[in-house]
Symmetry: C2
Subunit: 156 residues, 2 copies
């Protein structure tokens, strides 16, 4: 009891610490692979994936930012790279001159497909080595509760 200078215990803190470490470990690994094999960061990949699943393969930049938990300026800079490579195009909006869509190009979709192949396989291996199907589900469900309600804080 006296050796403990500072409270580290507490299930909440332990869970959060585990989250930090799990993220650092997995992200570092996957990101390195993705960069080495395809020249994409994890965030590049996640952004392109969101676009691929969106109607017309395009999304407003703000919405994209929210989905991948980046700031608006972060999205601007990330997209600048993808636009430069030709994976994503800027499309202006007819009804609102303020918004610019980010649209995945055909080349971008091909790129994403190629990257997904190895990336998805790596994830599958790492996770299925460590968890049973039901544990996987439990982990996902628990983690999905964490993000703080997006854009919906109080509406009476």
């Amino acid at each position: 009891m006296s050796t403990q200078l500072l409270a580290r215990e507490g299930a909440e803190i332990e869970a959060f610490t585990a989250l930090l470490r799990a993220h650092a470990a997995t992200t570092r690994e996957f990101n390195a692979d993705l960069v080495a094999d395809h020249g994409l960061t994890i965030n590049d990949y996640e952004v392109m994936l969101r676009l691929a699943h969106a109607p017309d393969r395009r999304l407003r930049r703000v919405d994209l930012a929210e989905e991948v938990f980046l700031t608006p300026s972060g999205i601007t800079r990330l997209l600048a790279g993808l636009e430069h490579s030709g994976w994503v195009e800027r499309v202006s909006c007819a009804s609102d001159a303020r918004v610019t869509y980010a649209q995945l190009t055909e080349e971008g979709l091909e790129k994403l497909r190629a990257a997904a192949k190895s990336h998805v396989a790596s994830i599958r291996i790492l996770f299925s080595e460590r968890f049973s199907p039901s544990e996987l589900e439990a982990l996902r469900d628990l983690l999905q509760r964490l993000p703080l309600a997006e854009g919906a804080s109080c509406e009476p």
Copy 2:
């Protein structure tokens, strides 16, 4: 079936995506608070916490790096900041001139205590709002399986 251009499904991928989002959301929040209230990043905090719990409140820089999942150069730079602020001191090792310890100063310990107060409270609130004690334990146990065996890959 035809609307799905790319496989997103798969419990492994969903779990990993949830991990990314959970980390981004919580980290952003806690880090902002910590920086605003105490001028420390989450990593600063985690490093000081590890030191506080280590024998003599000191650790080799390599070991520290491993614990918080930073590269050696990352640790050098992070510690440079803490040394500059006086929270951490460099201590050279008598038996091996290559190693330098990072040692938490008395001021550093005080600083850490002050920061812990609000930081720990924030974490507790966020997590206990969302999880029961048994869920918290489950989450921690699942997450702790993820970091890829540290330094122990193959020893016959």
